[in-house]
Structure formats: C-alpha cells, structure tokens
Symmetry: C2
Subunit: 282 residues, 2 copies
Amino acid sequence: MIDPGQKIWSNGAIARATGQHTMGVGFVASGKPRVVDMKALKVACQTCSLYELCLPLGLENKDLDELDRIVKRQRPLQRGNYLFHVGDPFKSVYAIRTGSVKTYTCNDEGDEQVTGFHLPGELVGLDAITSGRHPCAARALETTSLCEIPFSRLEELSSHIPGLQRQLLRLMSREILEEQNMMVWLGKKTAEQRLALLLLRIARNQHERHFSPYEFNLSMSRTDIGNYLGLAVETISRLFSRFQQDGILTVERKHVVIQDMDRLRQIAHPDDCPLDTGKVLC
Amino acid sequence: MIDPGQKIWSNGAIARATGQHTMGVGFVASGKPRVVDMKALKVACQTCSLYELCLPLGLENKDLDELDRIVKRQRPLQRGNYLFHVGDPFKSVYAIRTGSVKTYTCNDEGDEQVTGFHLPGELVGLDAITSGRHPCAARALETTSLCEIPFSRLEELSSHIPGLQRQLLRLMSREILEEQNMMVWLGKKTAEQRLALLLLRIARNQHERHFSPYEFNLSMSRTDIGNYLGLAVETISRLFSRFQQDGILTVERKHVVIQDMDRLRQIAHPDDCPLDTGKVLC
DNA sequence: CGCTCGGTTGAGCGGGATCAAGCCTTGTGG
DNA sequence: CCACAAGGCTTGATCCCGCTCAACCGAGCG
C-alpha cells in the first residue's frame, strides 16, 4: 500500500533543505521527475519543514527570530564525517535537518557499540550536558545537514523565552521516554519484534516529515542495526529474508518497501505496549 | 571489606530524614546502637544530605530558599503506595529523599513491565513532560519520603535562576545517559553482567549518600529485578546462588553483602565500558 | 583484475526461558 | 497460640531462540 503522492526519495529532501543552488529531483510514482527550485526555500527555523518536531515548536515569530540567530548552519556533512568524538568538550547540541546520524562508543578492543540512530527533527548531544563531555561519538550515516546550536546560548535564551525552555525540556523528556521504550524492547522482545520496532520508528519519522512511511532507504548497515538492537548481523539478515518471504516487506540492499504495515505493527506490539501512550507509533 | 564507620542500615537513614519526632537508631559495627536526635535535623534543601545529587547542587543560599519554598513535603509513603498512576496528568516531579520507587506499565493482560528503579537523589516523573501525562505508574518499594516539586513552578523558577535551570537539564541529561547505558547492557550483556550492574548501581548510590557500598537491603523482589533486567525470576535466583558460591557476595533474602567488589566490577565490565566516562561506577 | 567489505545462508551449540515441584516466609483468622 | 493459605524464592529438567563458526556471493574500488 504505497501512497504515490508521497513517494519521494530522501535525497530529494536533503537537496531541498541544504539551501544550495542545485535543483532537487524527486521521483513521483509515475516516474516523471519533479523539479524543485532551491532558491525559493531559504533555510531558517521559520521555514523549516521540521518545525513541529524540533525546538521552535510553539514559539512566536519574535522568539523564533532570536533562536534562529544563534543557530549555525554549515555545509552538510558527508557520510562518515563526525559531529563530535568521544570525550570532546560539550559545546553544542545538533538538530538533524536531513539525513541521519549514529552515536556510538568504542571499548578498548576498538569494537563499536551503537547507542542510537538519530533521524531528522531529533537533537543529538543531550547526553553530554551532565558531564560536560560527549560520552559517545556521532557520525553521519549519509549526507546530513545539521543545525548547530551552541548550548550556552541556548540555555541563556531559554531562560527568557518560556516556550523555548518548555520545548527543550519536552524534547529531553521525549528522549528519556524513547530510551525507556527501547530498554523494555531490548529486555524482553524477540529479534523479530526488535527489528519490526526499528522499522516502525523509521516509518513514523518519515510520516512525521510528510514522506511516505511505506518506503525508505536504510541509511545504516546491517552490522550497525544488529549492533544497535543487540543482535548478530546474521540474525538481521535472516529476519529481512523472512519478512520478505512472509510478504511483510520487500527489501533490496538498503531499499525497503513495507507491504503490510498492519502485520509489522502486530509483530512489534503483540499485546499493545501501553508505553506508547500519547504517541501514534505510525 | 566492610567499612565499619559506614555500616548503617537504610532504615536508619529513613528515620533520620523524615523529620518525624522519633529517634533514629543506627548500628555501628561494634553493635552499639547510635542514637540521633531527629528534632535537630529540620528537613530542607539547605540541610538535606542529598544536596550534591539533587536539584539544589550549585545554588546559592538565596536561590536555595526560593526552591525550598515551592517544594512540598508530605508524610512518607508506605510500601506499595502510589506516587502516580498511568495516564495521570503531569503536575509534579518527585525527588526521592529516602527509600526507593519503581516505575512500571501494565499491558492489557495486566502483567507488569518494570521500567525503572529509582533511588534517593533521583527525580521521578521526567518522562511525562513530553505528553503532559504519566506514561508509567510509580509506587514505593519501601517506606519512602519524597519532595514533590510542582513542575510549572519549577519551570518558572528555573527561568530566573540559571543555576537551577542548568541543574535540571543536567539531571535530565544524566537520566538519558543512564538509560543509554541500560539499553546497551540489556542489548548485549549476559544475565550475570546485568545483575552485577544493577548491584553496582545500588552500591554506587549508597556510596554517594555516604553509606557503605558493601552492604544494603534490596527493596525490590526477585520478580521485579527479573522483570526490569529482562530475565526470568529463576535466572535471578540462580545467579544470586552462584555469586554466593563464588564468594562474590552473601545474600540472605533481601540483605546483600558484597564480599568482592573487584570481582563484581570485573563481571560487569569485562573490557571497561567507556560509556561510564566521567562517572566512577562505585 | 583481485581485494575488501557488506550481506546471505547453513550447521551446530549454548544460555536462558519454561515447566514443574517443593520450601520458606508472611499474613490472616480462629 | 496454631492452622492454613498465598505468595516469594529456590532448584532441577528440558527446550528453543539466537549466537558462533564457516562458506559463499556480489558490489565497489584501487
């Protein structure tokens, strides 16, 4: 069940939001390319499509301007580039505009430990406030454009913009809640359920950004997924094969099309996980 | 390796902080009871022994007074009493002064899902900010005294006390970080490691509160522990037996004495989990 | 071209779940 | 005080999901 009107590749989104003078090309289901003029879309909190997901939610125009003025927007990061390393002093939080980021630590033997995947509209770096240093590294999984928000200025600003303070706390609270969910999943969900949940999370984010929840590209490798979900790579691979066999989805390398969202939801929440109250998990 | 000077039962701590006109009785290693006059210790942020763990950290006296004025302190909750239920509107966060709290959800079949154990100095309820309703229930695991902090007033206050805002953000950040750790543990730690980590967390909290990290009473049942760690009750039971056989600890019902902290640490962090940077895990 | 890396598939093993039985503690009511 | 019930805890036997090891495939790249 693919909604043709929303079938836009994430590349299109990236090009659209970077503000570069290129032409963004999105494909609609008919196969006819749709051309978007980049110059018309200046990047600013005021015009950002992530408005409802990100810090500006609920702010008035005047306050929005103030926030916008402290946000730094560099050129997009290429795949593999770092936002920060383990132990870096904590200066800024980063809002993801397009693309995706993984955060991870390494133990002494050098093997990675993925602690999170971060999608557009999410803030990265909040876990560093406590100690003043980043407890994990963050790097782009694909071409990723970010808004860097210097934390000291954000703190300052949010103390005289009540709406901003509230939204910052709300976003941190959201992260706590999501991580609680994740904990529960990892604790007692089967391999099937874990993968289904990750896919649903991605689908939900797509939906929130007004893209099709049914079709997307995985920006992360099978290895990363396994690492994140606490499963072996082989298990991930087998699961994708099984899901495909069962007609739940089609997958070809990175490209996923969800054919039966209901079944996927059913796998993820066999008896309706009540932790998701107040949130439609796609 | 028990430090005799710190061998105080948590009951003693409860009595000491509730501010009731009772006499707190702590046992020192010699067996001679030590009597503490309750009336001398008025409960206020200024004199609270959790100062460094809780919201007041870093505040000046004037600001501390302001904070103290919005804090409500009712009589301690008895074991099993609720702080709030699932779906309750979010009004306040609660700081735990003594005792402990578990948070959990129930699915339709009514079986519990423990999402966290909360120890003195921790804030409970932060996960409700996002939606304005509590996504989980919280109930006392033992006699527990709390400070209720109305959130709207806390928000208001922290916007004109920069130090308070910072500490609130710091505590939320800490919770995010701890939950990230937990996620990783649940994802790929063995049953042994998970239990060892929980015990170390309790020991660390004891230590931070200037009690002995080597000896404490578990306030939660084996069932709760298993539920929380994503393990069967039987596994928890077997692990305690094994740890005892191996001389790592002695356990008799709720009472735990850690005999070999190093070995416990070694079990928990086989190759030094770098996520714990900036924090001495006991 | 050959190398590496990411992904898939198969065979066998083991940690922890499940089922089952029994013990001990706690609480309740006579 | 004891009798009884209920729930928490322990221990044993068996089973199964997901890990590990191993081989192979295909894509991307120097």
